[in-house]
Amino acid sequence: MPGNRRKFIKQTLALTACSAAAVSGLTVSRQAAAGLAIVKPAASLLEATLKELFHGEVITATEKIVIQIPKIAENGAVVPITITSSLSHVSTVFILVEKNPLPLSAKFTLSPELEPFLSARLKMAETSDVIVIAKTNEGLYSGRETVKVTIGGCGG
């Protein structure tokens, strides 16, 4: 009779599952315990890039780096950026786009003859933070802006 057969299969399966659980019970628990142990998450690509560039040197966030960049980029292929700073003795400026496949976009080494001013046009793969790091004789400083990159609809 179908009802009994169904019940029988169900019971058999349950029994098998239980047995399997019982056999591996201890092993499963140990593994589970190991999996719950705190594992350090992999560094983001940006973090890895910063580590490679600055070897853990402290980067101080500052409002003295002013990033002019559109809040919403019409087309991620061309995002105009202008960087100015009231920091003195800026020798190098790094521009990073956090979510780009390769975050480091450009590195400008500026002679003292130049004001801490520069403009460029960036490619941005997706909505992302743009980080500007300035190296001065007093250390590393950073500014950050978020840019939304829209995916076009009909005109896209």
Binding site: P70, K71, I72, A73, E74, N75, A77, V78, V79, P80, T82, R121, T150, I151, G152, G153, C154, G155, G156
Partner: protein, 304 residues
Amino acid sequence: MVKKILKRMWLNNNRAPDIRLQAERPISISAFSLISLTLCLAPCVLSADPVQDQINIRHYYQQKFPHLKLQDYADGVYAIDMIARQSWLAIEEFPPYEPAIEQGKLLYETPFKNGNHYADCFPGQGIGIANEYPKWDGANGEVISLARAVNDCRAGNQEMPLTYQDIKMVSILAYLAFTSRGKAINIVIPENDQRALAAYEQGKQYYYQRRGRLNFACATCHVQNAGKHIRSELLSPLLGHTSGWPTYRLKWGEIGTLHRRFSECLEQIKAQPLPDQSAEYRNLEYFLSFISNGIPLTGPSTRK
């Protein structure tokens, strides 16, 4: 789903016969106008008189964008999208189409093998006349765009025509547009030639005709829904659409023509694109340019 809603809306608004069937047979202008009036996408802007069309369309946009002056429409979507405008202005400070203007000037001034020049084919040596194109050619009974005029000039001097998307053609157009920059678009539909009016009307019909799998007319986006968003795009108005060509589209990563953009728009609504400089495109350009009379030419320009 959206298509179903749009179709239902269209059917509710329009009880007259499907204009697509009508258009396959030549129709008189008055009959067309009558059909148009019943089929037009709200609000009704079509009439049998191009000047009346201009007035109606300007009035329509004035209601939509009361803060805009006529010349503001030359900036296209950047007249109504203030965030995108900032980014656009930053790029226009040193725009990526400049090399094309320089190259275009060089090409334009290079003589043909027979010693003649492009300048010999155009009034005013071709300087400051781009705002008057497209023109009606009474002798051949067709609309002549500036690109066609360039190739006609080449043909008249035993030179091979340039393909319309060839960078050499686009560069020459960029240079010619640049020499007309700031001048008001000034398209003429001669009163003494009914064929010119017919060409204008054909361009207008094309613009208001639904087509493609998405069943949109050009007017669906650029008249009915101008200023609204379609996904993340802000739809630009019809007024001023022909002002900024050729255009360096950031999407293309290069400078391109209005007809290229027509084809791209058609592909985007899943409709059949037509060849560059086909009669339909030239008539469409004639209609669009006439409607934009008075708006300054700003080509070449940058757009997304």
